[in-house]
């Protein structure tokens, strides 16, 4: 197991390297990217964004030189990777703040959003899924399936805006406003976070509901459940046997979803004005802020890779048939 984890971690490095390479290539190759000159100039549009309106003669050239954009691509790439290995992910083109520092500052809101929302959808999805499977074809079951259908059909951007519209503009029980940190003002934080949590959770809760319900129904017709009944187990114990099989795959899905979400919930953060990684990344992309784009992408990739690893390791403990060597 230890060897397996080490091997996976080494592969994680390779993956991150590839991610950086792809982002670099996209950034330079894409039309309007740093590899292309602006109309009527030999410098890329990026340089003009940073130099500002009506730059003095020589400013643009100085900007290009300072950012290292006049060097060959492979050299820029090599320098970035070299620095990244030393823990330096560069400085924001706009604010000159160290990217690592800027990301760490924006990580807590994203983590709070991701964990809160995921706990809600995990709980809702499992509870509704299990109950509707046990009460199959009942009114409750049909209602939950309707919820699931509605949930997966509502895109987050629509649901988020509707939520703001109803809870803020109409009902006035929510204030879309400035974000406050959990440790500065816990009550204020909860007041800010509950609605984005719900919005983010609804879609996933719907998906989890369907999955859990489906798993429960599949497992219920397994031979080993018939065995459990035939040996005279009480219905409660039979359900425990069913849950053990039906909920194990949920662990995988939850881990991966959480990993993805930690990379930033772009739309939700944007709608609810939460200064997290997602919002940060969007701003960076709009401003062609390469170090920040790279930093947020690498971090998101890191979370996803780690989530995969954790899920696989946890699975080995949950499913005795899985063994790594």
């Amino acid at each position: 197991m230890g060897q397996y984890i080490i091997r996976r971690l080494l592969w994680a490095f390779v993956m991150l390297f590839l991610v950086i390479a792809v982002v670099f290539v996209i950034f330079f190759v894409l039309p309007g990217g740093a590899g292309h000159a602006s109309r009527g100039s030999k410098y890329p549009p990026l340089a003009y964004i940073i130099a500002g309106k009506h730059p003095l003669p020589g400013t643009v050239a100085a900007v290009v030189h300072r950012l290292g954009l006049d060097e060959p691509l492979y050299l820029q790439f090599g320098k970035y990777v070299g620095n990244a290995l030393k823990g330096n992910f560069g400085y924001s083109y706009q604010t000159h703040e160290a990217v690592t520092h800027a990301i760490l500052r924006r990580l807590p809101p994203t983590i709070g959003l991701a964990i809160g929302a995921s706990i809600i959808w995990l709980f809702l999805g499992c509870a509704i899924g299990v109950v509707s499977a046990l009460k199959r074809r009942s009114l409750l079951d049909r209602a939950s399936m309707l919820f699931a259908l509605a949930g997966v059909s509502m895109p987050t951007f629509w649901l988020g805006l509707m939520a703001v519209f109803f809870f803020d503009a109409r009902l006035r029980i929510y204030n879309t406003g400035d974000y406050v940190g959990l440790f500065q003002n816990p009550i204020g934080w909860l007041k800010i976070m509950w609605l984005p949590w719900l919005v983010l959770a609804i879609v996933s809760a719907a998906i989890y509901t369907r999955m859990v319900r489906g798993n429960m129904l599949d497992v219920a017709s397994e031979d080993y459940i018939r065995t459990a009944r035939s040996k005279g187990l009480k219905e409660r114990s039979v359900i425990r046997h069913e849950l053990r099989s039906a909920l194990t795959p949920v662990v995988t899905m939850y881990g991966l979803d959480l990993g993805i979400l930690l990379g930033g919930a772009i739309i939700t953060e944007h709608i609810f004005n939460i200064p997290g990684i997602g919002a940060f990344a969007v701003t960076a992309i709009q401003a062609q802020n390469l170090p920040v784009i790279l930093g947020t992408t690498v971090m998101a990739a890191f979370f996803i890779i780690m989530a995969n690893l954790v899920v696989d390791v946890v699975y080995a403990f949950l499913d005795p048939r899985v063994a790594y060597s």
Binding site: E222, D223, Y224, R226, T227, A228, R229, S230, K231, G232, L233, K234, E235, S237, H241, R244, S245, T248, L318, D319, P320, R321
Partner: protein
């Protein structure tokens, strides 16, 4: 026939499942009796109602979707009249069951030993230690080597034969009066099949219980059953002692089954398949359900349902032919079978 105490008496059992396409008559007027110390074999093709009969006895079919009438008297109580909790107390305690596919019958996430311990604790309020010891003892009794270590194994670490042994151990925890084995060897290798049958036989004698052995394999029945019931389309076609059935079969369907078994000892015998296929249980043919496939059908066969009774042949069967006709036809069929040269 074995003459122990009567354990199970099924009387005129009907199990019908209403479906949108019509009523599926999975079991249709079935009666039989199983005694202590007897292995009662039930043979029949897939879909003849073998398994449904026993799942009904255990209350393992969905009663909401089935229409069940008749009686299943077990140790003096009609199982069909028990409520859920009473039935649960019978299941696994006095009436135990093992199934066809041992690969799928154990929960993959729980240790084999724990699954057996659980079977003990759900009927007996004993300390866990005691249940564990009893489990190890039973694992040893069914021939699991190093039972104390294998107790801690998960099902995937067992071979198919061992899993079936573990299932048998699990079935035996409460010294049941009756063990229902539903195709217990079908999923196993031939060599392992023999071991499992031997084990069931040994268990039957050691524990002095009754066994219902459901199978579509006449070879299996020939090895261990004292009494055999042939089922077709949810009905009993013929019931008799094993010798009677193999040396003196009376029903044309049984003849068909026997002729479709390869015989390695007699060179030149031909395999004769039964023409046609089993009827849909929604549209069971009128009269004798077998008549459309029967080469000996005559006047009353498509109108009157033959009763399961002794027509002078020595044991109960459900065929309109007279005992003399049966004797004649069967010997003719046997001669024809041997004299036909092997297919070129």
């Amino acid at each position: 026939m074995a003459q122990g105490e009567v354990l199970l008496e099924v009387k005129d059992l009907h199990v019908h499942f209403p479906t949108p396409d019509g009523v599926v008559k999975a079991v249709d007027g079935l009666s039989f009796t199983v005694h202590r110390g007897e292995t009662f074999g039930i043979v029949g093709e897939s879909g003849s109602g073998k398994s449904v009969t026993n799942l009904t006895a255990l209350g393992l079919i969905n009663l909401k979707s089935a229409h069940v009438t008749g009686e299943i008297n077990f140790l003096g109580r009609d199982l069909l009249k028990l409520d859920k909790e009473e039935l649960r107390k019978v299941r696994g305690k006095d009436l135990a069951m093992i199934f066809q596919d041992p690969f799928a019958c154990l929960h993959p996430f729980y240790r084999v030993g724990d699954q057996i311990v659980e079977a003990i604790l759900c009927h007996d309020d004993v300390p866990k230690r005691q249940a564990t010891d009893r489990t190890v003892e039973l694992l040893a009794a069914v021939g699991i080597p190093r039972p104390r270590e294998r107790f801690r194994d998960y099902p995937h670490q067992y071979s198919g034969g061992m899993r079936q042994r573990a299932m048998i151990a699990m079935a035996l925890v409460h010294n049941p009066a009756l063990l229902i084995a539903d195709e217990p060897t079908t999923a196993l290798d031939v060599t392992v099949q023999a071991q499992i049958l031997e084990l069931i036989e040994k268990v039957k004698n050691d524990f002095n219980i009754g066994v219902i052995l459901i199978t579509h394999d006449l070879g299996v029945i020939a090895d261990v059953a004292q009494t055999v019931m042939v089922m077709y389309a949810g009905k009993g076609m013929e019931i008799g002692g094993r010798d009677v059935l193999f040396t003196n079969p009376l029903h044309p369907y049984t003849w068909g089954l026997l002729e479709s078994i390869p015989n390695v000892t007699q060179k030149g015998t031909r395999l004769v398949p039964i023409e046609g296929s089993p009827p849909s249980l929604i549209n069971v043919p009128p009269g004798c359900p077998f008549h459309p496939r029967c080469p000996h059908r005559f006047d009353p066969c498509d109108k009157e349902v033959p009763e399961l009774m002794d027509r002078g042949g020595g044991h109960p069967e459900a065929c309109h032919l007279s005992a003399e006709d049966k004797k004649r036809l069967w010997s003719q069929r046997q001669e024809r079978r041997v004299t036909v040269p092997a297919a070129s």
